[in-house]
C-alpha cells in the first residue's frame, strides 16, 4: 500500500509545505501588511471575546470559533468585491468579519438582538450580511456549497464578473453534495471559488480517521478544477494564490479550488480546547500549531525585517482591544429581537 501512496501526487503536495517558513514580506507594501495584521487581530480578539462570554454564560447558544484560521479569509477577501457572493458554514465568523463586517453587529446577532445582521434571527450559526455580499452561512455541513454554485451560475447568466465563494471544512468533503457541486460548477462554467479550510478535524475526529489521505485536493482534480494547496497560516502566500485563482474565476467563468491547511485553537464548539474529547488532538499538537499562529508569524516577520517596530504593533493591539470591548458593551445594551418577526418573517411580506 505504501508504494502506491508514494505515487499519489496529492500527498506529495501536502508534504512539501513548510508550515514553519518565514513569511515573505519584503515585497509587500507596509500599509497592506499592517492592514492584514489588524484584520486578523480584530477577528482573533472578537473570537476570544466570544469564547470568554460563552464560558461566562452571557451567550446562550453555541459558537464555533475560527481563532487560528484568520489568515485564510483575510487573504482571500482582499480580492473580493461587494457584489461577489460569499457562502459559508458553521465556522463562519472569520469569513464575515474579513469582509469588513462590524464586530458589534456580530455580537448583537450572537446575543439575539434586533441590531444584529439578521435581527437576532440567525445567531452565530446562520449569519447573513447582504451589504457585504455575504449571502449566508449555515451549520448543516456543506449546506451552502451548492448554493454558491448557483450564485456563481447566476453571475454568468446576469453577464457579470462576480464570483461566488464557498467556504467549508475538510469534514464537508465527506458530504456527497460537495462532489455533485464541483462537477456541476465545472460543467455549467460557474465562477465559484471553493475554499476548503482543512483544519484536520471534523468535530472530534482527525482527518486520518475519516479519509485515506490528509489532503482533499484529489477531489478537485477528479472534477478537472484548477486547484492549489497552501499553508493556511501564511497570509502572504494565501494572498498570492487567492489573487491568481480569483482572477481565473472572474476572467474565465471557471470554478477554482483552494485547500488551505490550518488548525483551530479552540475545540469544535465554544471555548474549550477539546483535548479530552478530540480523537488525536493532543496538547503537543496544539502547542505546535499555536507556534504556527498566522498572526504571530506575520508579526515576527514584520519585526525581523524591520518593517515595523514591536511597539507599533502593540499600539494596534491595544486599540483593537478597546474597540472590541466597546462593541461588546454596546451590543449587550441593544434591544432584543422583535416578537412579531417570529411569524411575520416566515414568508416574504
Amino acid at each position: 500500500m505504501d508504494d502506491f501512496k508514494d505515487l499519489d501526487t496529492n500527498s506529495k503536495e501536502l508534504s512539501t509545505i513548510n508550515f514553519d517558513e518565514k513569511l515573505e514580506v519584503s515585497a509587500v507594501e507596509k500599509n497592506e501588511l499592517i492592514a492584514d495584521f489588524s484584520s486578523m487581530l480584530t477577528i482573533r480578539v472578537v473570537e476570544q471575546k466570544l469564547a470568554q462570554m460563552r464560558k461566562n454564560g452571557l451567550i446562550g447558544g453555541p459558537v464555533h470559533l475560527g481563532a487560528g484560521q484568520e489568515a485564510i479569509a483575510v487573504g482571500i477577501s482582499k480580492f473580493l468585491r461587494k457584489s461577489d457572493r460569499i457562502f459559508s458554514g458553521h465556522r463562519s465568523h472569520t469569513h464575515l468579519l474579513a469582509l469588513g463586517a462590524e464586530p458589534r453587529k456580530l455580537f448583537a446577532e450572537v446575543l439575539g438582538r434586533n441590531t444584529g445582521f439578521t435581527k437576532g434571527a440567525g445567531g452565530s450559526m446562520h449569519l447573513w450580511d447582504g451589504d457585504n455580499g455575504f449571502l449566508g452561512a449555515v451549520p448543516i455541513v456543506a449546506g451552502t456549497v451548492s448554493l454558491a454554485v448557483g450564485a456563481a451560475l447566476a453571475s454568468r447568466l446576469q453577464g457579470k464578473n462576480d464570483i461566488a465563494v464557498a467556504y467549508f471544512g475538510d469534514g464537508a468533503m465527506e458530504e456527497g453534495v460537495v462532489h455533485e457541486s464541483m462537477n456541476l460548477a465545472r460543467q455549467l462554467n460557474s465562477p465559484v471559488l471553493f475554499v476548503c479550510e482543512n483544519n484536520l478535524f471534523s468535530s472530534h475526529m482527525h482527518i486520518s480517521q475519516r479519509q485515506p489521505l490528509n489532503s482533499v485536493l484529489r477531489f478537485a482534480k477528479a472534477n478537472d478544477i484548477y486547484s492549489k494547496i497552501i499553508d493556511g497560516n501564511n497570509i502572504t502566500r494565501i494572498k498570492q494564490v487567492a489573487e491568481k485563482m480569483i482572477k481565473i474565476a472572474r476572467d474565465t467563468y471557471s470554478p477554482v479550488f483552494i485547500e488551505a491547511i490550518t488548525y483551530r485553537h479552540y475545540g469544535h464548539v465554544d471555548w474549550r480546547e477539546d483535548l479530552d474529547v478530540g480523537v488525536n488532538r493532543s496538547s503537543e499538537d496544539l502547542k505546535l500549531w499555536k507556534s504556527r499562529d498566522p498572526i504571530e508569524r506575520l508579526k515576527s516577520s514584520l519585526i525581523a525585517s524591520k518593517i515595523v517596530q514591536a511597539s507599533e504593533l502593540e499600539k494596534i493591539r491595544i486599540e483593537i482591544d478597546l474597540q472590541i470591548d466597546h462593541a461588546w458593551d454596546t451590543a449587550t445594551n441593544d434591544p432584543k429581537a422583535d416578537i412579531n418577526s417570529l411569524i411575520a418573517d416566515v414568508l416574504k411580506r
Partner: protein, 318 residues
C-alpha cells in the same frame, strides 16, 4: 404549463429553468417541448443526475437575484434534494430576519401507475405542507397549471409546485394570461352542492368531480372544493362549505397518516361546532403501503371516484 414557462422566459430575464430531462420530451411530457430551442440552452438547462446540487444551485441563484425554476421529473428522486429545500430554501427568510428570500419554484411531477412501483410513484406533497417557509401549490385545472405556475415564480418565496401526469390529457379553452398574486390564491368551490363537501387537490380533484357527478344520479348533491394552494392553507372556503353541508370527505392521492387529508379534517374539527356536523368526517387516501408493481395490485391501490362515491353515500345515508 408550456404557455406559462414560455410567458415567464419571455417577460422575465431573471427566469431560467434547470433540471433533468429538459432537452428531451421524454421526462416532462409536452409541458416543456422545445423551450430549449426557443429560449436557448443557457436558460433551459438540462443537468447531470445531481438532484441535490442542482436544487441547491437553484436556491443559490435565487439568493443572487434570479427567479429559477427547478424541475424534478419525478418527485421520488427529489428526496436527494431535501436539505436544499427544507433546511435552506424554507428557512432563509426567517434566518435572515426577513431580509432575503429564496424565491425558487421547485416543480415536482407525480408520475405514477403503469406498473412503475414503489420508487416511481410517490405523491409527497404532505411533507412540504409540514414545513413553514414553503408555499405548496397543486393545480388541478389547466388554467391553474399555467397561472399558478406563473404566480409561483413571481411570488418571491420558495414554492413547491406539484403537478400530476394523470392530468396531462385534460383540455380547457384558456383565457389570456393575467398575473396572479399567489398570496391571494387559495381553495375554490368548483362545483356547488348542499349535502356533502368533497375537498381535494391535484388529480384527486378530478376524482371528486367525477364522484360528484355519480352522486348526482343518486340524488346526493356534493360540493367540490379544489384546494389549489395547500400551504399556507386558507381554510375559510372549506369551513363555509362544511358549515352548509354538515359533511366532509377529504380525498388525497397520498397516504393517510399525518397527511394532507388529516390537516383538512383537523382544520374543520377545530373550527366547526360539532353540532353542525351530520356525520363523522372521512378521508379517501392510498392504502398505507408503498405502490405495487403487479397490475392487479395497482388496480386496488389507487383510489377511484367509486371509492369516493361509496364513502359519500355512507356519510349521507347512515
Amino acid at each position: 404549463m408550456r404557455d406559462g414557462f414560455s410567458y415567464l422566459l419571455k417577460k422575465y430575464p431573471e427566469v431560467f429553468i434547470i433540471g433533468q430531462g429538459l432537452w428531451s420530451p421524454w421526462y416532462v411530457g409536452n409541458s416543456m417541448t422545445n423551450l430549449d430551442k426557443e429560449f436557448g440552452v443557457e436558460r433551459v438547462i438540462d443537468t447531470p443526475v445531481s438532484e441535490s446540487a442542482c436544487t441547491g444551485a437553484a436556491v443559490g441563484a435565487a439568493l443572487a437575484g434570479m427567479k429559477p425554476i427547478m424541475v424534478h421529473p419525478r418527485m421520488d428522486f427529489m428526496l436527494y434534494a431535501m436539505d436544499s429545500i427544507v433546511n435552506e430554501a424554507a428557512k432563509w427568510s426567517s434566518m435572515t430576519g426577513g431580509q432575503a428570500h429564496a424565491g425558487v419554484t421547485i416543480r415536482a411531477i407525480i408520475n405514477r401507475g403503469g406498473e412503475q412501483g414503489a420508487q416511481h410513484s410517490q405523491a409527497l406533497h404532505s411533507w412540504f405542507v409540514h414545513i413553514p417557509g414553503l408555499r405548496v401549490v397543486m393545480p388541478y385545472s389547466v388554467s391553474d397549471a399555467r397561472d399558478l405556475l406563473i404566480a409561483s415564480v413571481l411570488c418571491g418565496d420558495p414554492v413547491i409546485y406539484i403537478d400530476d401526469r394523470w392530468l396531462y390529457s385534460n383540455e380547457e379553452v384558456l383565457q389570456p394570461i393575467v398575473e396572479l398574486d399567489l398570496k391571494n390564491q387559495g381553495p375554490k368551490v368548483i362545483k356547488d352542492g348542499t349535502d356533502i363537501t368533497l375537498v381535494a387537490a391535484g388529480f384527486s380533484t378530478q376524482l371528486a368531480l367525477e364522484a360528484a357527478e355519480k352522486l348526482n344520479n343518486q340524488n346526493i348533491s356534493a360540493e367540490v372544493i379544489d384546494v389549489r394552494v395547500l400551504s399556507p392553507l386558507s381554510p375559510n372556503v372549506i369551513l363555509d362549505s362544511v358549515r352548509k353541508t354538515g359533511r366532509l370527505i377529504a380525498i388525497d392521492g397520498g397516504w393517510g397518516p399525518a397527511g394532507f387529508s388529516s390537516e383538512i379534517i383537523t382544520v374543520v374539527t377545530e373550527s366547526i361546532d360539532p353540532a353542525l356536523l351530520k356525520s363523522s368526517s372521512k378521508r379517501v387516501t392510498l392504502p398505507f403501503a408503498p405502490a405495487p408493481v403487479a397490475a392487479n395490485l395497482e388496480q386496488v391501490y389507487y383510489p377511484t371516484s367509486d371509492d369516493v362515491v361509496r364513502s359519500a353515500v355512507n356519510a349521507v345515508r347512515r
